[in-house]
Symmetry: C2
Subunit: 247 residues, 2 copies
């Protein structure tokens, strides 16, 4: 059931670009290893990608990073294609059902960033500024993003020199295993006192994780029992979002 008529050279170039969803900086040889392509093949494709501005070389490390063309293109994702906006209605629906704040996170290197949020309408609510950066080491969404990341990334996360001392790594790994089995994560006053959260992954068409959807609120309201009730709803919402992406 193979793919259609497709151009190998172009395919390989795109594969190289996709490597950068796993690590923000890569050298020629690293890419060659990851893609299992010959060094000279990668060399020429990198030259092409760089010339067109899709990749750029870091002045210091001489490694490659994503270039401004990616930004240029992403700025032209039409409104309905930008997941942060595309998902908005679905997130609002979930917020209205659960009556707690709903956020969407993506991993960026060894951190996560909140790319979209709709806040609960209740007087006491979790506020969630878009654009905020947080660690992967704590919080339901952080754990989801780590749990479903590629093994190489997971290794990197644990090797991070900034790993917080008060989080036990082996316990963390056990949690990630559990999260992979359950398909969702919870946190109670982990990252921030007084708030708890539930989170589930959103996958791309190749099974790689794209984002984490999270519901968060005050521990008083969002109790363990309440979270249990929330799980099916958030999973359902995530499923619908996933479908929107892949058409």
């Amino acid at each position: 059931m193979e793919g259609k008529k497709t151009v190998r050279a172009a395919e390989r170039a795109l594969d190289i670009l996709l490597c950068f969803t796993r690590q923000p900086e890569l050298s020629l040889t690293e890419i060659a290893r990851m893609t299992e392509l010959n060094k000279s093949t990668v060399y020429r494709l990198l030259a092409t990608l760089e010339e067109k501005g899709f990749l750029a070389r870091d002045a210091e490390t001489d490694k490659y990073r994503l270039g401004f063309r990616i930004w240029e293109l992403s700025a032209h994702l039409s409104r309905t294609d930008d997941p942060a906006l595309l998902f908005l209605p679905e997130m609002e629906r979930l917020r209205d059902k659960i009556e707690e704040t709903v956020s969407l996170y993506v991993r960026d290197g060894l951190e996560r960033i909140r790319v979209q949020a709709v806040e609960s309408l209740q007087a006491i609510r979790r506020v969630a500024p878009v654009g905020a950066r947080m660690p992967l080491s704590v919080g339901a969404a952080g754990k989801v993003l780590a749990a479903f990341a590629e093994p190489a990334v997971r290794a990197q996360i644990l090797a991070d020199p900034d790993w917080p001392e008060n989080v036990d790594k082996s316990d963390y790994l056990r949690q990630l295993d559990q999260i992979r089995r359950d398909g969702y994560a919870t946190s109670v006053e982990e990252r921030e006192a007084g708030t708890s959260a539930v989170s589930v992954p959103i996958f791309g068409r190749n099974g790689n994780i794209l984002a984490a959807l999270a519901v968060s609120g005050p521990v008083g309201r969002l109790t363990l029992e309440r979270m249990e009730e929330v799980v099916p709803h958030i999973i359902e919402a995530a499923g619908r979002m996933q479908k929107m992406l892949t058409n």
Copy 2:
């Protein structure tokens, strides 16, 4: 002389992607025309790009749009590569020098979107929510984005059925000509009563416009004379930003 060793097929695939910075939706034949490639070549490259998720077909029109992979990649632009963040320090510097609100816009189809902003610290100031969408027909930044857009886009802008009646097209075109000559645009109570603005373009390495940088404030403070003073500073800031992009 010319570029290094580069892979033609990959180059062409990337060229096809770049077509979508000009129009959000394109059919096979349109792309073939724009890139001056053979239909069957484009056909195969499109199949490749679609298979990898870089393009997606619109269910209704059957035309191609940018796919979720672009979003995925853009989410992984490292902090220092995302111009909206990369430019922040420079925008703050400008804000501190001029003491008025500084915004960054990109064109999205026939609209513009504010992708970044730092507000003036004065009590009376222009507020500038990030993410807001505005027309290209009025406002300094709108005119800059239109003035330096590709001719095809400009034609589209003028052909827009939603073009506001109270803006005279031939006058608008004359203004755009002037803006191209001057290298900057101004507006006084155009889009919004009580506010005036100055704006300059930021170009990518191939000379195509990427964004518009704008300074805006209350007409009382940001008078015509004051705007004249501002011009060299905003041009200087834009120049520095441009350099950051292309390394």
